[in-house]
């Protein structure tokens, strides 16, 4: 069974920092390899590349941009996949309409920015409108077919067909871009040397502020979710529900209410991610299946039902996608596909998933 939290946290709280030291003692070779890899990556990022190295691997600027794009895209993928994996973990419902919720949230956010002119306010609108759709889906449809996983999945598939066609009807097939607000527009300087000019002057990386802010927000949301799941009463209920929802309802907790709340939250997250996606990239026909695929691959790699798994999976997939588009243009999707195949072959339950 997959869970939202994993065992590692328990051992960590029990033994504190020792666990890390003991792990190094038990796997000295792996520890060395990981240490070397970390140092190499840090060198790649921080140091200006020597000329010979740049000749083989291309400009450092390109690599750093791909790396930053990958990490920030990972934040976006995490926002989409977290709701997907949360809903799956608790309700065993593979919500294949999740991509449609993402796109719907993006469009609603676009409308909100058009009407009110406030980018931040549009997140509220997107969250609420997607949450309402999520509640309606849970209340009117999934509640009636509890325990029938396959049928629920087929229903979400049918809904995704209808939703995507209706959205084409309302918003048309053209790409829509949500404007970045003025206070986040433009690049910021980063303390990373990209190259050194011939006169010895260092050139620092400039990166779009909005992407960094959104990534920070994704991290905050992720940590917030982790805290909510592990430190609050409703988090305890959700975790108990993941492990045994029948027992939870026997104990007198209102499981149906919990389901509705979790579905609303997961759908709302997807809706907020829609605005992020609309600001990073654009919203158009087909983006729903793109983000459905992203969340599928992320949770398959990270482990189904695990929030930390979703974070790791999102980072891996987004990085491989961005690095892939830069270095192996024609085969970038093959890279994330290969990662999925390898993970499935070695650990069918995903990196942090539990059977």
């Amino acid at each position: 069974m997959a869970t939202i939290f994993d065992n590692e946290q328990r051992t960590e709280t029990a033994t504190g920092g020792d666990a890390f030291g003991r792990w190094i003692g038990r796997h000295p070779v792996w520890a060395l390899i990981i240490a070397v890899a970390v140092i190499f990556v840090l060198w790649l990022v921080l140091a200006p590349w020597p000329a010979g190295f740049e000749q083989v691997f291309g400009k450092k600027l390109i690599f750093i941009n791909a790396l930053f794009n990958g990490i920030t895209l990972g934040g976006l993928y995490f926002l989409v996949a977290a709701g997907f994996t949360l809903i799956f973990g608790l309700m065993r419902n593979v919500n294949l309409a999740h991509g449609s919720l993402y796109l719907f949230g993006g469009y609603m956010g676009y409308e909100a920015t058009q009407w009110t002119g406030s980018w931040l306010f549009s997140y509220v609108i997107a969250f609420l409108s997607c949450a309402v759709v999520g509640v309606a889906m849970q209340f009117f449809i999934f509640r009636r077919m509890e325990g029938q996983d396959l049928r629920q999945t087929l229903v979400t598939l049918g809904l995704s067909i209808v939703f995507s066609d209706l959205m084409v009807w309302v918003w048309g097939g053209n790409a829509i871009q949500i404007d970045t607000p003025d206070y986040l527009d433009g690049p910021v300087g980063m303390p990373i040397v990209v190259f050194v000019k011939s006169n010895g002057e260092a050139f620092y990386l400039h990166y779009p502020a909005v992407r960094l802010v959104i990534f920070a927000a994704a991290v905050v949301i992720g940590v917030g979710m982790w805290l909510a799941l592990n430190r609050t009463r409703i988090g305890v209920m959700i975790r108990a529900g993941v492990d045994d929802r029948d027992m939870l309802s026997v104990l007198g907790y209102r499981v149906q209410l919990l389901f509705v709340v979790v579905f609303a939250f997961g759908a709302g997250l997807a809706g907020m991610a829609g605005i992020v996606g609309g600001t990073f990239q654009s919203l158009s026909l087909g983006e729903d299946s793109h983000f459905l695929l992203a969340s599928l691959v992320v949770v398959i790699v990270g482990g189904m039902g695990s929030i930390p798994g979703a974070a790791i999976g999102a980072l891996i997939i987004a990085l491989s996608e961005q690095i892939g588009t830069v270095y192996f243009q024609n085969y970038s999707t093959v890279l994330s596909f290969l990662i999925m195949v390898i993970v499935l072959a070695l650990r069918p339950q995903g990196l942090l998933g539990r059977r």
């Binding site: 996983d149 999945t153 087929l154 229903v155 049918g158 067909i161 009807w169």
Partner: protein
């Protein structure tokens, strides 16, 4: 599970067993399907090219690809969304290895080399997809195969050296042998009919063979089958390989009928529509996918006019498909075949009661 109930073998014919020997009984038991066969044989005599190509051709090709999904879903309990992709791989390979309008990419090998090789490659892909998802069950299979299918779509879209990116391949002619131009409407119709009928019969045969029965056992209770000594994973992978053969042939016919293939022949909408076809038709009997394909093709062809006729926007065809699918999933999980069976049992029951 509901799937288990629906796949029990009941002949589709209504006829009661009659006196008159083995053959007569066989004919009366299969009256409907035999009538359908005869009708399909003489169909070109009464239909024009539009009906041959756009209705009958599409129905049988989509039916074949959906049949491979039905075999996996109905007998194996594995709803694989990668079957359209297997067909797409075969279609792409016939364009790459055979003849197309792109001399830079295509190898221009004769069809009797290209077609078998395309099938082999597609079956290898289908078996790989099976090997990846066979260790998981139920909804996990859907997720993994959907991820595979979508990855292939993006690969075909982004890759120019092999798949020619966004444009795909055009002008892929059907072969020309035995003095027949197989691309002409009537020969093409008979070729598609031959393969569709063949795959239908073979699926029916395999479902009653020891392998098919073991597969149904694996579907109903993998643990018990494992305990008796069956290799559950091997049976599942073999089922994927078998289904991939049917899907691959369907994919090649699709390209010969359509004369082109592009990423949008295998995009998510198509993959999902194929599942819709299989589920609406019914996963309980090999005829189901063909019925589903017929309904789908009729809707696709005439929904525009029908929607406009009742005063709605004709472009909302996809919504209609989605709503129809929802209604079927919500009210008749075993599809049209299930509806038909229930109707037959009810009629049979009332007849029995009045006769008594």
């Amino acid at each position: 599970m509901a799937l288990a109930e629906t796949t029990r073998e009941t002949p589709l014919g209504v006829g009661e067993a009659q006196r008159g020997g083995e053959f007569g009984r066989w004919v009366s038991r299969h009256a409907l399907i035999l009538l359908l066969g005869v009708f399909m044989m003489i169909f070109p005599a009464i239909a024009n090219d539009f009906f041959l190509r756009q209705i009958a051709g599409w129905t049988m090709i989509l039916g074949m690809i959906a049949l491979s999904l039905m075999f996996l879903g109905g007998y194996g309990g594995m709803v694989s969304l990668a079957q359209m992709t297997v067909a797409g791989v075969a279609g792409y390979m016939i364009a790459v290895l055979g003849v197309s309008s792109l001399p830079k990419v295509s190898f221009f090998w004769p069809w009797w080399v290209a077609a078998p090789l395309a099938i082999v490659i597609a079956v290898a892909f289908g078996t790989l997809a099976g090997a990846l998802s066979a260790r998981t069950e139920g909804i996990y299979t859907i997720m993994i195969t959907l991820a595979l299918a979508t990855s292939f779509f993006y690969l075909a879209l982004q890759n120019w050296p092999i798949f020619n990116g966004f444009n795909g391949f055009t002008t892929i002619p059907a072969p020309h042998f035995f003095g027949v131009k197989w691309g002409d409407p009537v020969p093409l119709y008979y070729m598609i009919l031959f393969f569709a009928a063949l795959s239908y019969v073979v699926v029916l045969y395999v479902s009653r063979s020891p392998f098919g029965l073991a597969l149904q056992g694996v579907r109903d209770n993998p643990r018990r089958m494992e305990a008796i000594g069956y290799n559950v994973t091997a049976h599942r992978i073999a089922a994927y390989a078998f289904a991939a053969v049917i899907a691959a042939i369907g994919g090649i016919l699709l390209v010969w009928q359509n004369n082109q293939i592009s990423p949008f022949s295998v995009d998510v909408a198509v993959v999902i529509n194929l599942l819709v076809i299989a589920v609406v038709g019914g996963l309980g009997h090999p005829i189901g996918p063909f019925i589903g394909a017929f309904i789908y093709v009729m809707l696709r062809t005439f929904a525009l006019d029908a929607l406009v006729a009742v005063g709605l926007d004709g472009r909302r065809f996809q919504t209609l498909i989605g709503l129809g699918f929802l209604v079927i999933v919500l009210f008749s999980p075993d599809g049209v075949v299930g509806l038909w069976r229930r109707w037959v049992t009810r009629v049979g029951a009332t007849n029995g009661r009045s006769g008594r």
